[in-house]
Symmetry: C2
Subunit: 666 residues, 2 copies
Amino acid sequence: MAISFKTIQTNMSMEHVQIGFMPPADRIIAENLAQLVAFGQTKGFDFVVSPLNSPEYERVLFKDHGPQSLELATWRAGLEAFRPEDLVVRTADHADYIVGTLPDWQEFDSKDAKVRLHSELALRQQFNWISHLGLGGVMLPYPSSTEPLSNYGRVLTGSLAMLAYTTCWFRVPCMDDTLEQMVDEDMQGMKSWERWNSIRNMAGPESKLGVALELAGSLPSDAVLDRWFAEPVKVIILPEDIFLTNNMGYPVLSKRHQQVVRSFIKHKPTFIISSSQLPKLVMNEFSDDALERGLSSPYADYVRYLHRTQDAPGVIDQFAVGYQDYLQAPLQPLQDNLESSTYATFEKDPIKYQQYELAVERALLDRPIPTEGEDITVIMVVGAGRGPLVNCSLRAAERAKRNVRVYAVEKNPNAFVTIQNMKASLWGDRVTIVFADMRTWKAPEKADILVSELLGSFGDNELSPECLDGAQKFLKPDGISIPANYTAFVAPMASNKLHADVSAFKDLAHMETSYVVMFKAISLLAQPKPIWVFEHPNRQDIPLDKDPLSNHHNIRTGSIEFVSEKGGMLHGVAGYFESVLYKDVMLSINPSTHSPGMFSWFPIFFPVRTPVYIPPNSTVVLDFWRLTDTRKVWYEWRVSCRFDGVEIHASPLHNVGGRSSSIGLF
Amino acid sequence: MAISFKTIQTNMSMEHVQIGFMPPADRIIAENLAQLVAFGQTKGFDFVVSPLNSPEYERVLFKDHGPQSLELATWRAGLEAFRPEDLVVRTADHADYIVGTLPDWQEFDSKDAKVRLHSELALRQQFNWISHLGLGGVMLPYPSSTEPLSNYGRVLTGSLAMLAYTTCWFRVPCMDDTLEQMVDEDMQGMKSWERWNSIRNMAGPESKLGVALELAGSLPSDAVLDRWFAEPVKVIILPEDIFLTNNMGYPVLSKRHQQVVRSFIKHKPTFIISSSQLPKLVMNEFSDDALERGLSSPYADYVRYLHRTQDAPGVIDQFAVGYQDYLQAPLQPLQDNLESSTYATFEKDPIKYQQYELAVERALLDRPIPTEGEDITVIMVVGAGRGPLVNCSLRAAERAKRNVRVYAVEKNPNAFVTIQNMKASLWGDRVTIVFADMRTWKAPEKADILVSELLGSFGDNELSPECLDGAQKFLKPDGISIPANYTAFVAPMASNKLHADVSAFKDLAHMETSYVVMFKAISLLAQPKPIWVFEHPNRQDIPLDKDPLSNHHNIRTGSIEFVSEKGGMLHGVAGYFESVLYKDVMLSINPSTHSPGMFSWFPIFFPVRTPVYIPPNSTVVLDFWRLTDTRKVWYEWRVSCRFDGVEIHASPLHNVGGRSSSIGLF
């Protein structure tokens, strides 16, 4: 069991989707801003997008002034405020209803030093004004030139702190069309991401900068769009002209666009409907356009419809609201006694115990009926908790029509109180309850079937191997362990959010700790692969009826290579498990084989100290170790990357000797 | 001026070079270890190298034992100590005279899990024994297999802490011959470094692991060997058979080998003479070999000879003993008043003031003799300190046979006391002394020549531009500034030592600060290139007779690309300057044009937060900014790397907004 549910507020209320309206920037002037606001409000928009400045403001480039011009020097020295004619947004009226955009003449990476400098000084003047007004937000332009963005990135990184309360979005087309040669949508899509990535890398993990992703008529492949799920995409921009018109004359999106928008809706973005023309109503002109006359914007209505009708959240989703991308340290069941609420939560899992019941039933049917002595099969539930596996075993016995004697072994005194009541009220003589640690218990007889639920998100990370090694000495030589085996899986992953959350602790220890997380804002750079397996009973390493002298046989080493076609930023490693309970009865949280509806385990996240850029078609190597000494078990890991046969990155070894995180054996 | 000389102990004593003797490992047994020690001592060696274990110890691989073997399990559990027959080094006798080596059957990256595990457990047993005995050192074998070294690296990283006082060296051949296909020395040399680098990257910057570099008959190019100067090469191994025999019958090295050994001697390594045969004397047999009978080892004598006869240290070297690789924060002459000792040190520079005197003389000769009014040329020394430039100016005037009136302007009250005495005792009426900040001084007349020494290691990093901008208003319209201009240079560099020293502070601020350093253990990944220049007087940006309204004209942006043929680890950026004092009179600390014998400036070092691997033939991009606000000036920087046209690394922006380091304007 893998998740601790304490301390999290859940919030199931279906929240309102924010939608804004963005007319063509060159049509909005100070004089019609008020109408634009009125239009937005009557049409039911949550905000409108307007240029902050008028074209006049370009004067501050002082194109035809020499460096000694007094005007230029005065402005440079910050001795001159905005002139009214510089601005479209001149007052704080409706400021919180307005998102501002910047002029396109601000070229931060221009070859002309004056243009670079004045663009930067202008940006600082604009940011000052924006936070003075308290605008709802500001959207930064995607650079029109193909120059490297080092100065744009530097200017933004240095200026964002000026925006105290105003959110800041970097506008990115889902496909960059500035590339000279004709290339396909995917390459254009990659280019957009690369440009955003170069800005974001400079800003560093702590940056508050968000992405406003603009969709277009044609779209890159899902593989390319998938990258954006690991990015802080706060806004989706939908141009009106990518909508189709249905036979009722109303705007709708193509199937593909619907599917893409729906996939983003999960991340709760704000939407912006961008229009290529200014609504007549904003010009105070009469409009005979049915759509314009209608009370609310049909485009906004359609987005709300998509939002309303998104696939009803599955069991897991409902269950997990509030846990998404929330970092939790894995449980340490050997060191800490679980709380009743934690047991209660896991006992609710609709799938897990079905599978256990089925596994026990199959195992019972496969067991020969004892010929001599009493006709009874001995089942031992080790780590019985509050008894769910005991119930599974009893139900399975009824279905298999076999007589069973069940032992329920539990070391947690609090849980033991509950199973005492269970025995008294429900189980009676069929169940013998034992208060003991399975590793040290002296069993009165040997078991046909050993049933346990000691798995963690990574399979072995809650010390199931060590516990079952200790328990197998009271399993008959031909006895069955449920589970029979479990396999750990890893995959390289991107997630700015998770890495930023770990970075926020500002210490090495948190960077070398694994976390149980319900993934949301992540992107796998390659499909998960198995790294190691544990099998039970372990007859190969452990003599019959004996305890192992050391735990070295539970050391594991895995070095796995992944080819990442699309590449991206690697922020850490995603971990999963698959387990065979018995024969074909499985439990899995590995995405491709995930047991439908099972929620007891979230994946596990191993961070890397420094995010690593993975070029397209490069090879990611994940080295993992499961190590042990006499007191604890821990993981060490590192990542490296090969490109064109050359190792271009190798991380330091993480969690050397378990210095930052380990699981105690006692 | 760039270096602060306080707080450093200098030590000019020529120290003894440590030399050890290493016989063939397979010839040393417990029984002749004592003779080996005696041999080493009589031959004047400082230590001998011996295998720690006998071949018998290979038993712990338990090749023909199953996992359930009690012997195996007992040993694995650490319940069995060394047996005497396992060991060559059995007692602590002469322990501090012995360096131990490990057996070659320890394969940490074997495909066989048992070999991996037992090799690791053996290493821990060996390290325990080594630190129990207190051996002088331990030398780890270069892996014979071509497998990746991830497990070897992991084992070392985790075990080094066990060696409290014993130094640990990783043995590396200067050329790796395990490569399948025939390749040239350089590729083999690169391979050796790559393998060491992969171990070191795992161990991290704090690791104490050193390198024992083994030379061979043929050697890679200097460019490849150069990489090792940035690594912790603690030992140079010289096999006897790479020596030639001179006509006296004594061993000598080829010219190339001499030059290589001499270049390493600067780094003060220990030497090991390795022999392919066991000296007869160790076998207690009579030897008729003249070399053996001689009192001291002729090989050791030869190394001592090379050490004795290394090129006599130049002025700079003598001067700089104790400063090598020592991090100093740049001076802040505008904020702090320099101490007398600091002035005194710089006034000793044999070259700098020669150049100034020459520049002033040339400038005087180029000045037309005033036709009307008095026949006199006005020289103003701004930042006169204790007066050296005043003396230069007076000497120059005599040589140029010109009448001059010299103004000495100084803001440091302590230095001003000295120039008051100078005027009284030496200068008299020829010199007018002024206690003022040159930026605010109201000059009584205008100067023909403005002389200053405000340069830092990076040229402009001690605010020479800002000071001279303020001073130029009392320079005649056609007046001359000495210096006339200065250019900053940068180069990507490797230096584990410097990066480790900065990392040791464990905070971001030190990673975003530049340091003045006399480089020793570094390797440039490419030759320095200019990034920006300042010219004086600046008539383009600043109106005649006026102060600039803002300092924006002193903002600089540089983005420079370097192709690094050999590649390596990038730990930071090396900074230098070149300055034209007047016409062809130059000052330079740029290696390729360094003014011979000038010691006033060491280079400047800009660290990067995370070391970056630079593949051979990739492109390193250095982005630098010199930025300013009303109170301070600071640098921001970032590095990125392109390989095969793809950006494979981009660092975050360093020192955003001067958050970690800046130079105050007041």
